[in-house]
Symmetry: D3
Subunit: 163 residues, 6 copies
């Protein structure tokens, strides 16, 4: 069984890593897909995001990272994936995910969207929370891996506008 886990990962947080570890233990191969539409408006380039994901998931031998393009459900088909993993945290997430999953049922009926619940301690955690904290010089160690924290602080020190 091959599964993809798509997202913007701008940057990867402990919440993503939790989902990745749990999903990786359920499938033969987990492909993390950085979706392509968002590069311009992002904080990190795709190359930077990919490097941070690879660094923080290097302990998982069946996980790989690619940059995606086109419709996610169709990209899953191209990668030979039967399953698309999604993490859900809150009701507003859930609604958005439900609409997306329903659209994907029409676009690619053979790709099943499967939801895994984030651990409670990560239920509030998003990439933008991490960036807000970095921008304000707050402590990042409960939110992202040290390697990612360093990259975030670096961006911030350079005066790059981070959203």
């Amino acid at each position: 069984m091959i599964a993809i886990y798509p997202g913007s990962f701008d940057p990867i947080t402990y919440g993503h890593i939790d989902i990745i570890e749990r999903a990786a233990s359920l499938v033969d191969k987990l492909i993390i897909v950085i979706m392509a539409n968002d590069e311009k408006s992002g904080t990190f380039t795709f190359a930077e995001r990919k490097q941070m994901i690879e660094h923080t998931t290097s302990h998982l031998s069946n996980v790989s990272v690619v940059v995606g393009e086109g419709l996610t459900a169709e990209f899953a088909q191209k990668m030979g994936a039967r399953v698309m993993i999604r993490g859900i945290r809150a009701v507003s997430d859930y609604e958005y995910e439900m609409q997306l999953a329903t659209a994907n049922m029409t676009i690619a009926p053979d790709v099943e969207t499967v939801f895994i619940l984030a651990k409670p301690q990560y239920s509030f955690l998003s990439s933008s929370t991490a960036k807000t904290i970095a921008r304000n010089n707050g402590k990042l160690d409960s939110f992202v891996d040290d390697y990612v924290a360093e990259k975030l602080m670096e961006k911030y020190r350079k005066g790059v506008e981070i959203y």
Copy 2:
């Protein structure tokens, strides 16, 4: 009984058409109102949106299309409408609609907001879903009328940035 059905219709989807058909069977006259604040940020001009609505609702004799301006509830009053139709799909819609309807109760107490539920197969469907699919060359036939699909693909081929 005159009713309005306001929205941005950028472009009209099968979800909108479902609501229009059902609302039109309940009232004497249904006026579809393209609300004016959004032209600049839209994908289609008001003229294009109007044409697509007229094309896809031409089988409904008591339906007409106008471009609105000002506050929607006050525009309803100008059109002699007692009822404002709103389609609801998801809980997040519902909350937004509830806030809007409550504000409108204060602004125009004589105009009643009336909600009609989208059919389940259209519950995930929005104009932006259709545009995402068009931008990625996906199949549009479950989402919009052929006429609208053609217009969407045309925009896309011209390289117009579609959000």
Copy 3:
């Protein structure tokens, strides 16, 4: 246009009356339907509920009250109603109503469920809130009509167990 407004009305509150007044102004005839499955488990008999509804809606000439039976959507058909009115207050209401409306689309596709939003001051108000307050000798005048308040206090004084 004939519409029904089904419910248990055990007893009728100011929230119900608000919905009834607004719905009655939109249709030719509004039939309030006390649904039949609930008599045993209710606080008031159907006859008592009917009397309280008739008393508190006597100022509305196009409103009548009946006791229903069977599936609500099919009962609407029997009454010649094209529209079923539902009031919505909260998200949990909304979800339940959405499921009900979707089931009814299948059972009686020619009967349209139409939602009207309760006024904000009644958004928290249910028959059971009124009963809780009555059971504890609280002031009822913001919640139910004086006539209904009297009937509620009477039940309470008789020591009838009110849920």
Copy 4:
């Protein structure tokens, strides 16, 4: 990979069957678990529920049915299952499921709860909807398999109180 799909299945609906078919295609073995706490308050006995599930899933060779007992997550462990399948339909479902899944993370950390979204046309459908329709002699064919419909009508004709 072994997965369980727990529930009360009182009785099995087309919504359950949809989830079962999709889950069965993702795992090596899917065990449907009728959870034990509910027999007394149910409409059908465990034996009847089991028979109806077996009848309507006989086309799926990797699906079996058992009656469970104890905590569901611990029962999953006993069955050698790494995955617990849950279908979600609405936000209120989602919240309940999220609380359950979080409790199960503590009770049996090695069993992963995995959510699959019901198809839109089944998003409103529950066993109790089917029973309400049966009790009122409504048409059941959009809701449950013919075999289950017959069993439901039989219960109803016998005058058994169905909740």
Copy 5:
């Protein structure tokens, strides 16, 4: 400032204790109120619930426990409390609490309902979760204090039906 924290506490969980500790640090005096309507349908008597609360909050010098009666908001007034503390965990909680708080605004406008968010690790935890686990001989130590766990297991061994 005097505050009450009303609930059924049948029995007290770590989730309740978290709210109590945090609330107690904000006010001069915190009165835990076991509300009276529920004794018959509960698992523990009021005396047992009170004892378990007193045992598990004995480290908090400004906390006391009483059994309430009547409407909670009116009981707050009788106790001289300006504030009613409520813990919220999930959206469905939130809606119920919002309705209750709105009703209380009308009943006792001088008593302010104040919400404190449960810690994420307790967001799924309720008294009934704890009872389900006890009934099935599961491990209780992440859910309730050892003293409460013992009382729960005792009830269970006696064969008392626990809901």
Copy 6:
């Protein structure tokens, strides 16, 4: 007890004033904090927002206004505040607030986020509702104080783009 009430207040509405009045009666000192990240994208400058807040809360002797900076929870610590007040109106608010409050538990565990429910008549009311109405020359007197209404109409007449 010192509390802060953070927000963008662009501009202050009757909904904010309701929360401020109720919060101010519960604490010794309430500091309204205009959070700093938003100035550029706002309609009013911080100086204008501060002046409008001071004007409309001048009847409350224990209320002051400052412009904040950095992370809100850390700013609360700098101001010596133990409590952060948040108003909640709708479920979508609630989810966002819950995520924020959970993040703040980690950043500043000694600052407690406390939620107060907006009065029902203000449950739909936001600064952007007020601005939409002003932009369309609607009546503002149910939404903002006369002083604020004047400032809003002034902005509007100057042709400033208001979002």
